[in-house]
């Protein structure tokens, strides 16, 4: 395979990729309802809620931002947490760029669609046309539905009264756990998850809201430095 872009994509293959991608798009887009409702419950306006979905457009960062706001934390802490969570999209982009091969304005426009779901539906494709169909179908359908259902959730959330009566505060914990769950299949990640949660809860009594999560980001940095250094020291010396 000299050039992945030279490969043709048959019509049945294309249809299967589009069907699977739309399924992921609909399922993901629907939970924009929960984001919209949680965000207005945290005290953001409908307009601010919709701006987050349009401009930030990466679910975990958005939930983190409004989670800090709900706890009464300073907006800067929420913004920093959102940005730290957003760094994984940089990693996705690095893996996707050679596969998708977008250039110029197409790259600038499609960058916004680099999220968990569009990456999952394109990164393992065998050819460039297949990867592009998976990426664009998933990315665009999630973008349209996520924003539409954010508005629905935000408007509905304003009408329902005390969000605690509906367990919306517990819903956010469930949402974060569901996002984390697939990564817990890895043993090293499980150890890190327990340490990060313990450290975050440990500093809750002595810091402002939002800061404990940032401290957990520091735990990840430390774990990365320590594990990479440990691997280097156990490698056989090169001669």
């Amino acid at each position: 395979m000299a050039d992945p872009g030279a490969q043709e994509l048959t019509e049945p293959e294309r249809r299967v990729i589009i069907r699977d991608s739309l399924g992921v798009g609909v399922a993901t887009g629907l939970y924009g309802v929960s984001f919209g409702a949680v965000s207005v419950a945290a005290g953001l306006s409908v307009l601010q809620t919709c701006a987050l979905s349009l401009v930030m457009f990466t679910g975990a960062s958005q939930f983190a931002f409004v989670g800090v706001a709900a706890a009464g934390g300073p907006p800067l802490s929420g913004a920093l947490t959102a940005l730290m969570l957003g760094t994984r999209n940089t990693l996705y982009g690095l893996k996707l760029a050679p596969l998708l091969g977008f250039r110029g304005w197409r790259r600038t426009a499609t960058a916004q669609l680099v999220i968990d779901e569009s990456t999952a539906m394109s990164v393992l494709r065998a050819s460039r046309p297949a990867a592009r169909v998976g990426f664009l179908t998933t990315g665009i359908s999630v973008f349209v539905l996520w924003n539409a259902f954010t508005l629905v959730g935000a408007v509905a959330g304003n009408l329902i009264g005390d969000p605690r009566d509906y367990g919306l505060d517990a819903a956010v914990g469930g949402a974060f756990l569901a996002l984390l769950w697939p990564r817990l299949a890895d043993g090293r990640n499980r150890v890190l998850a327990v340490c990060a949660a313990a450290v975050a809860l440990g500093v809750v009594p002595v810091t402002a809201a939002g800061v404990p999560v940032l401290v957990a980001g520091g735990v990840a940095l430390l774990a990365g430095i320590l594990t990479v250094a440990a691997e280097d020291s156990t490698e056989l010396p090169r001669r």
């Binding site: 601010q48 914990g173 975050a200 809860l201 980001g217 774990a223």
Partner: protein, 103 residues
């Protein structure tokens, strides 16, 4: 201030995506960068779960949210889809508060 944070973090998150599709792929060959990029979401999401469920301002507390989290774990073990997990967590906490007001 809230608007500034929303737009700043929003544009920042877009630029992080744009950086990924624009930087040369060999950046990934730095093992530390790849490792930390893998670990950060795990640590942050885990801390977010813990704080969201057990923190009440600067106090720690075990209340209906913890029961909601336990229900979410059960749903995840049973391989429920995302929306079901979120709904189960909310419904569990809501029903408990209905039965035990103020919990």
């Amino acid at each position: 201030m809230t608007w500034l944070a929303i737009l700043g973090a929003g544009v920042g998150c877009y630029l992080l995506k744009l950086a990924g599709v624009s930087l040369p792929a060999r950046v990934l060959e730095h093992r530390l960068i790849e490792r930390v990029a893998d670990l950060i979401p795990v640590a942050l999401l885990s801390a977010l779960v813990a704080v969201q469920v057990f923190a009440d301002g600067t106090d720690l507390s075990v209340d209906a949210r913890a029961a909601g989290l336990a229900a979410a774990v059960l749903a995840l073990v049973l391989r429920a889809p995302f929306l079901v997990v979120v709904f189960v967590a909310a419904a569990t906490a809501a029903l408990l508060r209905l039965a035990f007001p103020g919990w």
